[in-house]
Symmetry: C2
Subunit: 333 residues, 2 copies
Amino acid sequence: MKKLINAPDAVLSDALRGVQAAHGDRLRVSFDPAYVVRSDAPVQGKVGIISGGGSGHEPMHGGFVGPGMLDGACPGEVFTSPTPDQMIEATKAVDGGAGVLHVVKNYTGDVMNFDMAAELGRGENIEVETVLTNDDVAVEDSLYTAGRRGVGVTVLIEKICGGAAEDGRSLQEVAELGRRANANGRSMGMALTPCITPASGEPSFELGDDEVEIGIGIHGEPGRFREQLGPASQVAERLMAPILDDLPFSSGDRVLAFVNGMGGTPLLELYVMYAEVARVAGERGIQLERNLIGNYITSLEMQGCSITLLKLDDELLRYWDAPVNTPALRWGA
Amino acid sequence: MKKLINAPDAVLSDALRGVQAAHGDRLRVSFDPAYVVRSDAPVQGKVGIISGGGSGHEPMHGGFVGPGMLDGACPGEVFTSPTPDQMIEATKAVDGGAGVLHVVKNYTGDVMNFDMAAELGRGENIEVETVLTNDDVAVEDSLYTAGRRGVGVTVLIEKICGGAAEDGRSLQEVAELGRRANANGRSMGMALTPCITPASGEPSFELGDDEVEIGIGIHGEPGRFREQLGPASQVAERLMAPILDDLPFSSGDRVLAFVNGMGGTPLLELYVMYAEVARVAGERGIQLERNLIGNYITSLEMQGCSITLLKLDDELLRYWDAPVNTPALRWGA
């Protein structure tokens, strides 16, 4: 295992020291329990939004904390759910009196702990709503999951709900918007290589020299099948067909296309993939009105990519376009 | 070799198709000769700025084309210099009557071809100035290089010169600012793993299972030495000491610190590295006033990082902070 770390059990706290050193002007870092909130939290009268999950998926979620997106994020150890005490402390830190939204990816540990944190929040008279993301069409149940896994649409929902909260919308409205985005979003991923968690020191799975896993999860969970790596055009079709057929997306739909790198994939290859995604979408009469291309929801150094399509309406589009100012996503602000 | 491509000889044109599909609203793509310019080029009365180099270092340079940074970029094949005809066509496309700046990394092919393009430009009555970047302290001469290699400071110079050009500064002023930034910037990189170019299909070099190369170049060129991988704190010291001693940087200096990933390094690890960079800088009394952390000047899927320090003055800082709106760097606009 080759990693730029000091010790496997220090990765999270060391990375948080880096976040504090780099972004201390705009983020406030708590080490115990571990969470990050925007430095002006809580914003009075605004709905607060937090998310969280295991580390190793950076920039998700800590890189999305700031005006126009998340108010706070709770990082667990690598590929391990954060604990309810992290979540309740972050919830309290971002509560400006208008309630707090929890954006939760559908993994058993995350769901259970966020449920507990929501209960604890209500016990402290904080109104809490939850948006559960489950956009991964690859498999119905999986390691760590009952039902579909939450993946790429989470990034889009955090941006859209963040825009709506900044716009003064109510907790109910922001939560409904997030649920609508989840209902209109579908994803699927694939891997060229496994990743290695610092604690295990071993690859998360084995793949042959010319083999890929179609439908991979963001912790290396098994997907739908393995096959010999084909050209990018074939990879795009393998991922796009199940996504397009599932919602289903139809000719004339306005869509945001998100081509995400798993952490170790060169940006050059993600643009090759985007060309193929645009081609397949075009063949179905689907208009890609917005896009996001890069490493945003990653699996450490895994090579591979995922595709997320989100069917847009005017309101989703407006809040996607709204100003955002976070370490990883920044525009118009 | 596992890559998300259609064919080794189609990588560049396929990636450019992706750039056109994704960013056609803000960039204009020419396929033959290959270059990318901002869609409103040429901007009348503004100094035009172009750069270029081999592909495989994305987002550099194409991801930096847009208001506040580059007017155009010329991508060569992977790790191969672009040709003079790409450069002269891009130069003409961005010439708004105030002259054109070429930002050139110090590699023999790039230098020779940009020299030729500058001559061709003058032959067409376009005033051309060149800023040559050579900030890599690792080695004096190298594969492909007489003198030091141009690396991370190139990204910072493109941003700073772009800000100055947008502010209406003259070609001479923008060029002098770029040269001052180069004189005040120093970098060094390291690799955990090699990369594989699509054309060769073979690793660019071999490293032992626990070995790293200190002083690596962005094409896998040899560095200063190899050693067993130590903790991130040691890696930071290995890179920071030669950088700090070379300028030299002194107590009280105001510095921009750029921790760059080589393409395959998780962001989590780059933040661990930033914590160590901030620690070493602090021990020397150096104030990190700005930072940039992420994969910006890469070597395909290579794992590793580089550190660039730029000594700031008020003018460099002002143009670093100025609005920028490109696919890869965007703020305040």
